[in-house]
Every structure is written in structure tokens, then in C-alpha cells.
């Protein structure tokens, strides 16, 4: 038992007790307490077990810098959060907190065996061990290390809370509401009543360090009054500035409900503020440094500022017999202040030879024994401090002082994380023993302790406290959360690491969730001593957002579940849903993949759909195809320059399959397009390529060929497209169409006619992606559903069958029609893909033409598209499977290419596949091999058209 509640004092509400649970046991605190102060008030000193060694750990600091007291808070199913810092958690009635990283209990933790094995577990041990035997890594070492690693447990349930995000513009944003921040905000708001000034602070209430200094409480009250009188000053407590990004864009996370009892928590849990500020004023203060000595991680050893905050802000004595070790005057002022508040401070040990006479007198006046030119060389006690061992700095052992709490005052480090995010530079200050801000990059400045503009008194820098004991026997901690000792840092230097970036990563110093708030400078000092270089020559590591751990939910806001990505649906989608379609995502579109009937699985449904289309007629929603209306006197000239095909001679009323390359000569997109008039084309692209193709065209039109008189309009969503494919297609739509002669003589394949269908305008394309007689009925999207239903009814006597993308894929593969992005991968030229016929031989130039002549592009052995027929017709190859010539060769084998499309073909009664194969066009009839884990399949190379090579089924 060490800490206890003082009879008076503090800013807590002693009339409002709050009950909470800690590791299942009930405790009482007061409204205004945080979890740390409430537990220390109840005599708790053990808060956790360290990451690697499972050493017993207590509270180190009372702020964002706390590295040890990481707890899990349970607010119900899906609301269990691990790794929260106890001093950052305001208590509420019914709070349920548990400790972490211990089994079976905090007091009796089996993991403590790691502490005895610590000689074998120094920094970077995992880079040198657990290597042999190799087989043991996967089954034994890795699972064991994973179980042991980590602090809290990851939540298993989905987060049911929702999170808000808001944009805010302001003239001045002040980050940090301690005395300096409050003054800066009030000054800015008074200077210009039209200026929007926002003041944010991570704590539950504003005041910062003033909350722990009763001498400043009157000033603070007056400041509150000033603030309420300023309508242009907005104050946001519970709001942490997490990132300072380009052009004065600051992200801050505001906690909205976690401080409330569960029953009162309604609405969003957190709010992400996205500030764009004219000026950012950083007032984030400074954080006290621990001292480095053997046993400095024993529960009960904490920062002097934590002792002050506990006593003066929360009315909690940190111990019954408190010793203080200082190398800085602030340790003295803190000790004297808490002694005056009734805490039993017995001794101040200071490693400096001289300390100001005023401080010595004031300390003695409180009955404190002072020991200057003395060092702490050890701490007795395991689960909590029982005594402090001291020695003179000259080296002679002096005394063992009974104590249940040891406060450390090692100096102050200005908090410059956000300054660093904003690319402000820093310069070393010997007096502070830390970096201070130097040149800003954004429109920002630092005020208060963060800028070195605060007096904590003076001090001396000691990388580690002097000790006569041999260094290799000591456990003197630098990074408490990652269990990094002074020994580890010296080891890294001995092993050859010179740059602070390497030392940091090798030892993991400063890499825990506290981002080195209490360890960066101590680590830097020890490294620089080991390297015999000044600190400025060793450097400082970079700070990266977020400043403190931030909930994923806060960052993602509403972008989850159904709102994660827009889902684009065609107008036919509800009909497909009503008819039992199974859907798949194609880009952001939701497309029907197949329409299972009864108990059909996908294969049964697809086989049935395929048979139905070729036997009679199938109906397919092709509305997602990209469509661009190309209009203007230079429309044909423009398309001629973009595509490989010749367009100028295409008559109105005719269609052409267009192939689009990049300037590098590789296939980018394709689509059938129609000419409606000399100056008007209806262009189509692949579903996934629509935006990309339009962007590419705009690029050329705006930046290369601005002289062309043509303009482009995206019409993808304006047209619904109903594909009707099969021998009965014409019969089905004949009664519905008006003003178009559908006879084969009047309406040949690859033609377009305008007229009406079901009374609405239509652009009727006679095109086929299946190899059967086919039409693509384009109607304005608002009429799409009506026309679909009409065709569906009209098709009933012909057993019209709805089919999805899977069947569409099979039918086109049987005919050897490629799908860009599936059969092509950005490395195929038109010749590689068997599409030389689509390249206009007489065209002087088009995008990509020049590249087709490059030596690489005409060299033998290029991958080319071929068909593959398996020796066993029932084997359906896996898409992506690799192809080799000789399956007996040693690994790694020479891979000739891979399978791009593979299906069971009902029409052929066997499997088919398309593949990219090196020199494929010259391998017709050859046998190749597909090695798979279970078997190697033999295949014969064929052409890509498996069914009806003469196209007679189209000619009806």
C-alpha cells in the first residue's frame, strides 16, 4: 500500500463518488479523477507487466507520455478497447478496466520468467536467434513469439459505434490549452473580433500545467471568464491534435462519449476535425524526462511532475514515504509543493554538486533531508518500491533509504511532434538538454514551454546516473514500453549501428505507442556518449502522425460497410435481385453473375444459361458498358488518331470494333462503336475502363490536339443496354420495335439503327459478344426497366433465359473474343492478341503506332494469345496457372506464360482455355504442360476460336 487520498485539496468533486472495477475488484474514486489517480488513491501501485520481460510496472507519468499503465476498457460487446493509458481515462460510474499482458494475474504472472532469461533476450535478440532448425520456425517459434508479444488483446467483434468527421476553417488554431495556449488564444480572439479562433486540448478540461499549480488557479478562473466573453473563440477539450499536414491542415480527434457512463453514451463516439487554419499556434508544452538508473522501472518510481499532479490536482499522495531524485530544479519545486500539501517527502537526492540555496532552505523547511552530489544506484522492492539505494557521485556507497515512492526529475523535453510533422526544423539547446524549435515551414509558431519559453529552473544533463556498480549487471530503463535498457543502446553501438535511425530500429527505442515521449532524448544521450559524438552529430528521429494512438473508426468515419465504396447499380438491378441473381463486383458496379434456379450451384446455372442462349435466346444487362458521345466536325479525325482502326470511311449506321493502345503500343481498352452521323459517334469502352478512356481522350484533346473541333460527353449512365442474344433474338423484339426494318438484308451484323421500342427512342445495335444472332438495345436509362420487362414477357414463348457475367464470359471465350484486362495484362500488342486485323494498315499515325515498330515489339518469342485444350477434356485449368514446355526440368522452371481464361464449355462438351504463351502463334498443335500441386496437365495449343470459326451462326 503506498498511495492514498489526501484529506483535502485537488480539483476532484469529493461529493460525487464514482465506483469502478479494476481487474474485477471494486474501487471508489471521485468525479474528476482519472483511472490512474483513482487507483493510486486506493493504494494500487501495480498497473501492468512490461512488454518483453513482464516486469511489474506502475504509473510513470500522468499525461500522454505514460508508457506502462496500459489497460483495457470494456464498454460492452464490440466496445472493448485495449492499450489505453490509465491517466488519460476519466472515471465514470461503472467503469470496467483490466490490466494486460499477464497470466494468470497481474500479481502472479507466469511471463515473469522472461525477466530471468533477460540475458538471452536483449534488444534485437530475434534477429540472432530462433533460426534453427528451420522447420521449427513455422510450427513452434513463430506461434510462441506471437502469443508472447503484444500488450493488449485485439478486439474480436466489429465496432458498433459510429464516428463523425467535420471540416472547419479558422484564422487561428491553437493546439494546447495550458497557460501559454490560453493566453495566445485570448490574445488572437481579442485582436480581431472577426477572426475565428479555435483552442483545442487533449485533456478533459483546459488549463494544462496550471491545473497542477494551485497558485495559478485564480488566473485560470479569470481566463475562463475571458474566454466566455469572446464569441469568436471556440474551445474544444478532449480534442487531440494528431497530425499537422500540408498547408496548415490539422487533423484532431475529439472524444465525445468515452468519458460518460455507458447508459448515457449516445451519438457518435468520436469526431474527426479537419482544420484548415490561417495560422497554427503550437502550445503543447514539455514533458519531463525520467532518470536512467538501475531499477528505475519499479512500481512506485514515477516522474516528479506525476507526483505533483497526483497531489495537487487530484488530492492523492503518491506514497507514504516519498523520496525524490533530481538533476533539475523542478524536482525540488515539485517536492516542496507536495510536502506543503501534506505529502511525507523524506529525502531529495540530487546528482548535481550545487543546488540553489533558496531551494535547499525551502526543502529543509519542510523537513526534507537533502543529499546533493549523490546518485540513486538501485531500487529495492519488486512489486513496489521498498527502499532506495544511494551513493555519492564520487562512487562511495552511502545509504539505503526506506521509501514506497521515488519521484524522478531528469529535466524537460519540449513537445515538438506536430512542429516536426509540419517540417519545422529544430536546434539543440544545451541548457534544456533537448531540441527546441528553430525555423517554421508552415505558417506556425510555438509558444510556451514548447519553445523553451518557460522556467522550470535550471538543471544538468546526465545520460545515465553515475553508479559504481558494473554496467552489465544493471537494468536501467530508457524506453519503458518497449523494455529497452541503457545496456541495449550501448550494445547497438558496439554492434556497429551509428545512425540514430538504425539504433532506434535495432533496439526499438522510441517505437512504442508513446513514440518516445519519455525515451527519445535519454536514448539519444546514451547513444551519443557511446559513440563519443555530440548529440547534434547523432541526430534525432522523425516524428510521424498520429501524436497519440487514434481509433481506426475516427479515421474512417462513415466510410465503412455500405458506405465504404459507392455501389453503382444499373436500372435493371432490382429485377435481377427479384429473380434471385447472385452478384459480383466489377469495378464499382454490382453486376448479376448468374441466376440460379432451385438448388443449382454456379456451374449448373451457368451451363443451363449457356445452353439456353445458343438454343433459343438469353437476355443480359450490359448497361455498365462505358459510353462516350463523340461529336463535332473533327469527330472521325479524332477517333482515327486515338484508335488503331480506320474510322473516316465508316458509314453512318455502321459499327466497328475499336482497339485502343497506349503510346507504348500495348492494348489499353476495346469496344464496339457506331457512327450515327458524319459528326457523331456512339463510342463504347469496357465497364472498368470508361473513366480511364475518357480521361485519356481529354488529355489528348486538351493538351495535344486543341485545334480539333470535337467534344466528348460521358453517357455511361444515360443509356440502359439490354443485350438479347440467341437464334430467336429477332423474333423476340420484332413486335416491340417500330421504325426499324429488322430483316437481315436491311439490318446486317455490326450495324446501328435508330427508332423506337415500346414507344421509347432506341439506338438498336446489331452486335454479338456470344457468336449468336444478337442485339444490344440502348434506351434512355429511365426506360430501361420497362423495356427489359417487355422483352422478358415477349420472350416467354421462346423460353427466354436471363444470364449473368459468368455465362457472358464463357460464351465469348468459345468464340475467342478477348476481355481486356483478363486476357491482356498491359504487355500485349494487337499482334500478340491476334488482332492485327483491327490495325489500319494505311493509317499514317495513331496513338501507339510508332511503338509497334520497336525491335522489342516485333522480336520472336513474345507472349501471344492462344487456345489450350486439355488432354483430359474434363479438366478445367485454373486461371493464372503457369505453362512450361518440359515438366521434368529443375525448379525454377522456365515459364512460357499463363492461363488467362478457363471455362467448362457446354457447347463443346469439354473444357476450353485461353492463354498467353511465348511464341504462341508458332506453337499450334504442340503439347505443353501445366504443373499444379496435385497433378501436371497436358494441353494442346490451338487457335482461340473454339466454336463456329466461320461465324455462320452470326449470319442469320
Amino acid at each position: 500500500m503506498s498511495g492514498y487520498r489526501l484529506p483535502a485539496g485537488g480539483l476532484i468533486d469529493r461529493k460525487a463518488p464514482v465506483r469502478l472495477l479494476w481487474d474485477g475488484e471494486g474501487y471508489t474514486g471521485f468525479s474528476g479523477d482519472n483511472l490512474a489517480s483513482a487507483l493510486v488513491a486506493n493504494g494500487v501501485s501495480l498497473f501492468g507487466r512490461s512488454f518483453k520481460y513482464h516486469r511489474p510496472r506502475g504509473l510513470l507519468g500522468m499525461g500522454a507520455e505514460e508508457p506502462n499503465a496500459l489497460v483495457t476498457i470494456d464498454r460492452g460487446p464490440g466496445r472493448v478497447t485495449p492499450n489505453l493509458r490509465a491517466p488519460a481515462l476519466p472515471v465514470y460510474e461503472g467503469m470496467a478496466a483490466t490490466s494486460q499482458n499477464r497470466y494468470p494475474s497481474l500479481k502472479y504472472d507466469l511471463g515473469e520468467v522472461n525477466n530471468s532469461l533477460s540475458t538471452f533476450l536483449p534488444a534485437g535478440f530475434y534477429n540472432k536467434t530462433f533460426m534453427w532448425p528451420r522447420a521449427a520456425w513455422e510450427k513452434l517459434y513463430e506461434p510462441a513469439i506471437r502469443r508472447m508479444a503484444g500488450l493488449g488483446e485485439s478486439p474480436k467483434a466489429s465496432d458498433p459505434d459510429h464516428y463523425e468527421a467535420v471540416y472547419a476553417h479558422c484564422e487561428v488554431l491553437v493546439i494546447g490549452a495550458g497557460p501559454a495556449g490560453i493566453e495566445a488564444a485570448i490574445t488572437a480572439a481579442k485582436a480581431d473580433p472577426a477572426a475565428r479562433v479555435v483552442l483545442i486540448d487533449e485533456q478533459e478540461e483546459i488549463g494544462g500545467g496550471a491545473l497542477s499549480d494551485p497558485d495559478l488557479w485564480d488566473w485560470l478562473k479569470a481566463a475562463y471568464d475571458d474566454i466566455s466573453a469572446l464569441p469568436n473563440l471556440q474551445v474544444l477539450p478532449r480534442t487531440t491534435g494528431i497530425a499537422y499536414l500540408h498547408d496548415n491542415y490539422v487533423a484532431a480527434a475529439e472524444r465525445l462519449t468515452d468519458h460518460l457512463p455507458i447508459s448515457e453514451a449516445t451519438g457518435p463516439r468520436e469526431r474527426l476535425w479537419r482544420f484548415r487554419a490561417g495560422e497554427v499556434i503550437l502550445a503543447q508544452g514539455a514533458i519531463e524526462r525520467p532518470l536512467v538508473f538501475d531499477g528505475n522501472d519499479t512500481p512506485g518510481v514515477m516522474l516528479a511532475s506525476a507526483g505533483r499532479t497526483l497531489a495537487l490536482r487530484y488530492g492523492v499522495a503518491p506514497g507514504r514515504a516519498v523520496a525524490v531524485v533530481a538533476t533539475h530544479d523542478s524536482g525540488w519545486t515539485d517536492a516542496i509543493a507536495i510536502a506543503k500539501a501534506g505529502v511525507n517527502v523524506t529525502t531529495i537526492i540530487d546528482a548535481r554538486a550545487t543546488v540553489s540555496a533558496d531551494l535547499l532552505a525551502a526543502a529543509r523547511a519542510q523537513g526534507i533531508t537533502v543529499m546533493t552530489a549523490h546518485s540513486v544506484i538501485g531500487v529495492k522492492g519488486r512489486l513496489e518500491v521498498t527502499a532506495v539505494e544511494t551513493a555519492s557521485t564520487a562512487g562511495s556507497i552511502s545509504s539505503t533509504i526506506p521509501a514506497d515512492c521515488l519521484l524522478m526529475a531528469g529535466g524537460w523535453t519540449p513537445t515538438l511532434h506536430l512542429w516536426s510533422h509540419s517540417k519545422g526544423t529544430m536546434k539543440w539547446d544545451d541548457a534544456w538538454g533537448a531540441y527546441l524549435p528553430d525555423q517554421p515551414f508552415e505558417n506556425t509558431r510555438v509558444v510556451g514551454a514548447g519553445a523553451g519559453d518557460w522556467s522550470f529552473g535550471s538543471g544538468e544533463t546526465f545520460a545515465a546516473l553515475p553508479t559504481p556498480r558494473p554496467a552489465h549487471k544493471l537494468k536501467a530503463f530508457v524506453d519503458f514500453q518497449n523494455d529497452v535498457t541503457a545496456k541495449d543502446i550501448r550494445l547497438a553501438v558496439r554492434e556497429g549501428f551509428r545512425s540514430i535511425e538504425h539504433i532506434k530500429r535495432y533496439t526499438t527505442n522510441g517505437m512504442a505507442t508513446d513514440q518516445g515521449k519519455t525515451s527519445n532524448i535519454n536514448g539519444l544521450q546514451i547513444a551519443s556518449e557511446s559513440l563519443s559524438k555530440p548529440v547534434t552529430a547523432v541526430g534525432l528521429t522523425t516524428f510521424r502522425p498520429p501524436y497519440t494512438p487514434t481509433t481506426f473508426g475516427t479515421l474512417s468515419g462513415h466510410h465503412k460497410g455500405a458506405l465504404f465504396q459507392p455501389v453503382r447499380k444499373s436500372v435493371i438491378d432490382p429485377w435481377a435481385t427479384a429473380h434471385g441473381a447472385v452478384f459480383e463486383n466489377v469495378s464499382q458496379w454490382r453486376r448479376a453473375r448468374y441466376f440460379p434456379q432451385g438448388t443449382e450451384d454456379m456451374h449448373a446455372a451457368v451451363n443451363r444459361e449457356c445452353r439456353a442462349v445458343r438454343a433459343s435466346v438469353g437476355i443480359f444487362d450490359a448497361s455498365t458498358l462505358g459510353k462516350i458521345e463523340v461529336v463535332g466536325p473533327d469527330a472521325a479525325e479524332f477517333l482515327n488518331r486515338m484508335y488503331t482502326n480506320p474510322w473516316k470511311a465508316l458509314e453512318p449506321g455502321r459499327c466497328r470494333y475499336g482497339l485502343l493502345l497506349g503510346e507504348d503500343g500495348f492494348i489499353r481498352d476495346d469496344g464496339v462503336s457506331a457512327r450515327l452521323a458524319p459528326d457523331r459517334f456512339h463510342l463504347t469502352t469496357t465497364t472498368g475502363g470508361a473513366a480511364r478512356v475518357l480521361n485519356m481522350m481529354e488529355d489528348y484533346l486538351q493538351t495535344e490536339w486543341a485545334d480539333l473541333d470535337v467534344w466528348l460527353t460521358s453517357t455511361t449512365e444515360q443509356w440502359a443496354v439490354i443485350a438479347l442474344q440467341g437464334p430467336k433474338a429477332r423474333e423476340v423484339i420484332a413486335p416491340l420495335v417500330d421504325g426499324i426494318d429488322l430483316s437481315p438484308e436491311a439490318f446486317p451484323h455490326m450495324a446501328l439503327r435508330e427508332g423506337t421500342i415500346c414507344g421509347v427512342p432506341t439506338r438498336l445495335f446489331r452486335v454479338s459478344f456470344t457468336g449468336e444472332l444478337g442485339f444490344e438495345i440502348n434506351v434512355p436509362a429511365e426506360h430501361g426497366r420497362m423495356v427489359w420487362e417487355a422483352i422478358w414477357q415477349a420472350g416467354q414463348p421462346h423460353h427466354i433465359t436471363p444470364y449473368g457475367t459468368e455465362t457472358m464470359h464463357v460464351l465469348r471465350a468459345e468464340k475467342g473474343y478477348i476481355i481486356v484486362g483478363q486476357d491482356t495484362d498491359g504487355t500485349l500488342t494487337p499482334y500478340d492478341a491476334g488482332l492485327a486485323w483491327a490495325v489500319g494498315k494505311k493509317k499514317k499515325d495513331f496513338v501507339g503506332k510508332r511503338s509497334l515498330d520497336r525491335p522489342d515489339m516485333v522480336a520472336p518469342g513474345r507472349k501471344q494469345l492462344v487456345g489450350l485444350l486439355t488432354e483430359d477434356p474434363n479438366v478445367v485449368l485454373e486461371e493464372g496457372a503457369q505453362i512450361v514446355a518440359n515438366p521434368a526440368q529443375a525448379i525454377p522452371m522456365t515459364m512460357l506464360g499463363h492461363v488467362t481464361s478457363s471455362y467448362w464449355s457446354e457447347a463443346l462438351g469439354r473444357s476450353i482455355a485461353i492463354a498467353m504463351v511465348a511464341g504462341g502463334h508458332d506453337r499450334m498443335g504442340q503439347t505443353l504442360h501445366i504443373p499444379m500441386p496435385d497433378a501436371t496437365h497436358r494441353v494442346t495449343v490451338t487457335g482461340t476460336v473454339f466454336l463456329d470459326p466461320k461465324g455462320s451462326r452470326l449470319d442469320v
Binding site: Y249, E698, S851, P855
Partner: protein
Amino acid sequence: MLLIHCPYCDATRPELEFTYGGQAHIARPLDPSALTDAEWENFLYIRSNPRGRHRERWRHTHGCGRFFNAVRDTVTDRFAATYRTGETGPSDADLGGAQ
């Protein structure tokens, strides 16, 4: 979150509204067939990679949809200027010295 000034909208908008468009002022050769393979390779693939001022293109994709040019420092990400397609933009001297 960079702020970029669109010279067509004459408005400064967050980078979310824009798409990067690669190095600027690379004109497509009027007669590609007249180029050697080395010259064509240069056009296709060879780009400057300066540490400092870079003349590049951006498109105001979620805005007016226009392509425009910019001078941006690749180290500081500061935009020294943005100007319309077809214009030459400020020289290094105009911007205060060579880089």
C-alpha cells in the same frame, strides 16, 4: 492535404479534387514515324526527376476537368505557380533564381 490553385477556376482547392498528370511540356511528336527508336524511347519513358522545381501537369478531375501546368518543388511540395495549358509559365529566373 495540399492546396492547389486551378488557373481555370481561379480557385484554390484541396488536392483531393485533382489528379497528377506527369511531367509537363512534353509535346507529342508531329511525325512519330520520323523518330529513331532512341528518340521515341526518350519521348515515351525518359523523364526528369529533379530534386527541386518540377514542371508538371495536374487535372482538376473533380472540378472543371481541365488539364493545367504547375511548378512544384519536389522537396517541399510547395507550388510556385500554376498556369494554363499552352502557356509557358514562369522561368526559374522569374521565380527567383536557378534550381
